[in-house]
């Protein structure tokens, strides 16, 4: 599976891990990963350690997640980006919208 999810022990943080390319082909799986209607989840982690590439449609999907999680009050961390992915995120000024580590 290119997209995997797991919950933290307290059930409050949902981690979404994307393997390979993060582009339009993953959009349905990515939405399914967070749209499960669980009230307890208050924070999201997008783990990009196995993501090789991300394109502009993936940027749109990250914004979808952000709005779903509460827009400006959303708690979303994007973790473990490789150099290419990090560069695209920073060109798009996404560090103003997400905590990128």
């Amino acid at each position: 599976m290119p997209i995997q999810t797991h919950r933290s022990e307290d059930g409050r943080t949902l981690t979404i891990k994307i393997e390979g390319r993060f582009d339009f082909s993953t959009h349905q799986a990515f939405r399914d990963a967070y749209e499960h209607g669980d009230e307890n989840v208050t924070a999201f982690v997008v783990d990009l350690s196995d993501t090789t590439y991300l394109d502009s449609s993936a940027l749109g999907m990250l914004l979808l997640l952000r709005d779903y999680a509460g827009g400006d009050s959303a708690k979303i961390r994007i973790e473990n980006c490789n150099n290419d992915v990090r560069r695209i995120l920073s060109i798009s000024n996404f560090e103003q919208l997400f905590a990128i580590r």
Partner: protein, 581 residues
Amino acid sequence: MDDSLSENRPLRILIADDSDSDRLILKTLLRRLGHEVEDARNGEDAVEIFRHSGADIVLLDALMPVMDGMEAARHIKALAGERLVPLIFLTSLSDADALARCLEAGGDDFLPKPYNRTIIEAKINAFNRMRLMHRTLSEHRDLIRDRNRQLLEEQDVAKRVFDNIAHTGCLNATNIRYHASPMSIFNGDILFACPRPAGGMQILVGDFTGHGLPAAIGAMPVAEIFYGMTSKGFSGSDVLREINQKLGRILPTGMFCCAAMIQADFHLNQLQIWNGGLPDGVLVKRDGILESIASRHLPLGVLGAARFDAGMEIFRTEPGDTLLMMTDGVMEAENRHGDMYGEDRLKRSLDDAGNAGSPFDAVMAGIHAFTGKRPEQDDVTLLSLEMVEEAELEGVSDGLSQSALEGPAEWHCVYEIQDRSLGQFSPLPLLLHICMEVPGLRRKSGEIYTLLSELYTNALEHGVLGLSSDWKATPDGFGRYYAERERRLRSVSGHFIRFSLTHTMTGRGGQLTIVCEDSGSGFDYRSDAAAGNNSGYSGRGLMLLRKLGHSLSFRENGTRTEIIYDWHFSEVAAREGGTNT
């Protein structure tokens, strides 16, 4: 002297005895055992027969007229040379002195008279075994000697080939001194120096794990890349990235290259150094203070391109400062007791630099006083670079040879993808591959890929498929957009997307122009969504194109998009910490 190796063939035995009856008895006995026998009446005849026809084994009577057995034995042994021809004395002597003299004359054993058939047979067989063993050993020794000579000759030729690739560059510049054993390439040590077109020089000291042929083969592409890229103006970091990638691809796991890259700028008076796995370098300041240059990186050929750090450290210098860089061979040079030279002794040697004339002389003298070997016997690679006034180095960069390694610099290519292939095949890897043939673009592969990919997505989704970004304004619309994309792709007909790539060199680097045309009816690239003004979930593709490219322009209603992408030889930028990220 052609002997078959089989132990069972008849032996050729020469016997010499002045007694006719004894000779006849012995001859008959040996013939019955199946051997070929020649006989002589005295020592002189025996020597003559041996000279003409040789023999496998010789039986000599000790006491004979004309020439006795001992004299004959000496001649026969001399004629036999390296071959083992067992020599057995036939004797009725029982006096120990006489027997000893027989052995001193070259005899191998005695046969007492009267003869005993069983003993004779056993002795002949025993000596034959010894003879054959001796011959096998001699053959193996000769084979090893020949092979070794051949290997050395081949190494010599290989070294000449290598020297043509890894020419001395500017190792003969007045401010460089170095020591490397003549066949150092077969120990896996490399040392290259090349002037930079903009002034200054670049030096690479390296040490491959392992030695012999594999190390020498690994060194070839390193030399090519180093000289090719340095002479075109690429920075140390660029060259390191390229070498690291190359070695990562060609070396088996477990084999890598410890190295240091040194970029010397005599105008700014600074050194930029990258040390990956070599012993600490030493910067000997004019006033004698030592500054260590530690290894901060993994060796070349270990990490993938994404994790490889080619950042170089900057050291401010003054004319008169000297940099020493060395391979493990210096630290591990052993004396008779197996102690190693090591860092402390190196420092002590350098304390004496004032008396020795220079840090380089001090260290060389220190090593050889410690090991007791002559310089040409060691596997030490030591480099010393003195910082000097730029004017002193006039003419170093003359005759900078342009390497044939250059990637394509001036080219144009058009690639058009049509109809059904639009939905089934991505042209991006192929187009990226074409661009990656240019060394200067290789570092930028991520950016180039993004440019190609966003251009293609735009042309396909907005141009060919006529999808509107407006749909992406809501989460559900986002899903609908991609479902519709899927549906329309299946029935594409009469469409194309055409990429035209052009690359030219500029004074400071190169320029890649990408034109992407499609057969659609255009799209509204001036709209809010396209402008990427952070409304909705779309429009970031064009924003990426704008930010990554040098210029972006749309023609023909948005069906023709042109991006110009400039890249530069990395400038020596002290203010950027010497790295280009």
